[in-house]
């Protein structure tokens, strides 16, 4: 539904944190859709389309998507309560803040969790994963694709290859909250059993939907479990019939879906999967924008938290403050230039770095000039702060 004249959101500071990100006018307009019944034919089609478009984004024609009202975190509960039975072993590849939290979630539902802990600024290497898999049998391995706290990227493809080669019955879950639609993910080709994500990052929609995309192998493991899922709200036993019904064009009820947000998600997914640029071009544009940000930061003397370019995400950048400077020299100064960036989050270095998100329309809608604006502001703020420091 398009407005006439076109809907324009209010002027505001440019939001370039690693999620929520800037949302396009037509997506926000869809979020202001008149209230609709969750069982109306119009909404059923929109919901079914979202299910189908998720498969497109993740190159997973045979997967089972789940769209449930909740934060991205709810995806952890979905994985932990549906795929792991109490007492089963899970291996968490921990590359930052989010590995710790996923561990807590898995343990809540009774999993025995081991971790491979990457050094700060690094991701777990396939060789470390292989060693861990050889020592013990695991039901599931979890990977944080991009750790939002550090901007560290894991090599999902190589890690999956390792699992499939060394322990082919082990499932792989990829936390793609900060990577889906900004990093290329070929879920089926790479053999990822579950991708979990949320709407407010690369998917360009306000927050409030947990998106989980399960392989046929994951669904088989779910159906074969001998104990009921440990969660009620996150239970696939409840949600699978709902997803199947909506995709088939029928309404079915377990809990009221976030109707307006699904309309908004539909608008954004339509742009991502059917608009310009193409999905492949979109990934390329994220790589290019990321390189521009990182090159400029390097020229300014800013060091990345990711210690090597192979560990650097394409949808966000985490940067240490120059020696002698702190958050107050950078973050509020960027805000004065109407650019909202994020402070640190990782407990070990929280006061020593900041984060910039570069995902979605800020990257692909070049007419907006968002990346230029970020780079100009960053350059000016850092140079001024360094000059002030010297004087």
């Amino acid at each position: 539904m398009a407005s006439n004249p076109p809907f324009k959101q209010e002027p505001h500071k440019l939001l370039v944190i690693p999620g929520p990100i800037e949302v396009a006018d037509d997506v926000l307009y869809a979020n202001a859709h008149p209230s609709m019944s969750h069982t109306s034919p119009d909404f059923i089609k929109v919901f079914g389309d979202c299910i189908r478009m998720i498969r497109t984004v993740l190159y997973s024609p045979n997967s089972q998507p789940f769209l449930i009202a909740g934060s991205g975190t709810l995806g952890w509960d979905q994985v932990a309560s549906n795929l792991v039975q109490p007492g089963e072993n899970v291996l968490v590849l921990n590359s930052g803040y989010f590995g710790d939290s996923f561990t807590d979630c898995l343990q809540t539902y009774g999993a025995h969790v081991d971790q491979v802990q990457a050094k700060l600024g690094e991701a777990v290497q396939p060789s470390e994963l292989e060693a861990a898999l050889q020592g013990k049998s695991y039901k599931l391995v979890t990977i944080t694709h991009v750790d939002t706290s550090t901007g560290v990227l894991s090599d999902a493809k190589a890690l999956c290859e390792t699992v499939k080669r060394v322990s082919p019955n082990t499932l792989v879950a990829l936390d793609g909250v900060c990577s889906v639609a900004s990093e290329e993910i070929h879920q089926e080709e790479w053999g990822i059993d579950v991708v979990l994500t949320a709407t407010q990052k690369g998917l360009g929609t306000p927050p409030g939907l947990s998106i989980v995309n399960a392989s046929q192998a994951a669904m088989k493991a779910f159906h074969e479990r001998s104990t009921p899922p440990g969660s009620y709200y996150a239970s696939w036993k409840r949600w699978l019939p709902i997803m199947q019904a909506y995709e088939a064009g029928r309404a079915s009820y377990f809990a009221t879906p976030p109707v307006n947000l699904v309309y908004a998600f539909h608008a954004s997914l339509s742009q991502i999967t059917k608009g310009t640029p193409s999905l492949q071009e979109r990934f390329q544009q994220h790589r290019e924008a990321s390189k521009r940000i990182k090159d400029t930061a390097e020229a300014l003397g800013l060091e990345q938290v990711a210690v090597d370019s192979k560990f650097a995400a394409n949808g966000m950048t985490a940067l240490y403050f120059p020696v002698g400077l702190s958050a107050s020299d950078i973050v509020p100064k960027m805000a004065e230039k109407d650019v909202t960036i994020a402070a640190g989050l990782h407990k070990d270095i929280k006061e020593r770095y900041f984060r910039i998100g570069h995902m979605g329309i800020s990257v692909v809608d070049k007419a907006r000039g968002d990346i230029d604006k970020v780079l100009d502001a960053l350059t000016e703020v850092v140079k001024k702060a360094l000059a002030t420091q010297k004087s």
Copy 2:
């Protein structure tokens, strides 16, 4: 933030199902707020205000509200996983579809559940509750305030009095998904320990937020539990520090809140708690609108599912089709008149009745003429269907 000229939603069919309900233009406009950081000072204040305004709606100055991305159903998980420990006894007062489901949820987290089952169209009576409480010790009693499937209203005040008198250590949880802001609830005066609800009914906001409001006694029971909460995403251990931080004006992170929806909720709560009509007048207007609907239905020869006026909700009405008529004679005919009502949901009578919601702006913004439109359409459709049947 007000738009200039004022934002007007698209023309659409009048939505009078028992939730989601019609949403005001300014609330939808807030849902289209530019994307904001969940840690921005602007959003922190909005979130804190929502916490405070929930207390106002429920007359509970000392309660602890929780606002979490999710459907109303997530409130059951919050109650079941935070307030009940595995093996403890819970008594479910079952007045329809939602009592069955709440039972499933409680059992998922290990509760031993007994039910007092009301007859179809009735709520559990205080005397039945008293008998059950005398036979066994319960940690928790749950009440469905208004069963959305039948429009049956429970006498929350009298049931709470019974619990406090017969078993003063038993907690009371009220499922107010279909009652908050359309039925009067004095949470503290009546001694309700938890009210759980969602945004898309009397609270006049799109769906996507689970709202739970816990008494000090409930929080004490939570703090005294000897086992960790059975859910991760619904765990108050995770969320309590977040709610306390936002209310105190600080950001804190567990999972990204549904930022835009919180802006929308703020707009609706502001109207409910500070606008015209007053909260007391709002409840009175719901009673009056409900009476108009029910009187008109009766004059048309339509029988309510609620067997007595004391069991009849004020925010919705469930009506049997006249003898010889079925859903296809009424529901699509109403839609042809641009009025969307709901079909049946309760498994025992699903094909035999329909439901009308009358909550929020459709009731209190009389200039809209929504109730008149519903009554005119219903009268015309029923009379025509009956005449066609005879001829």
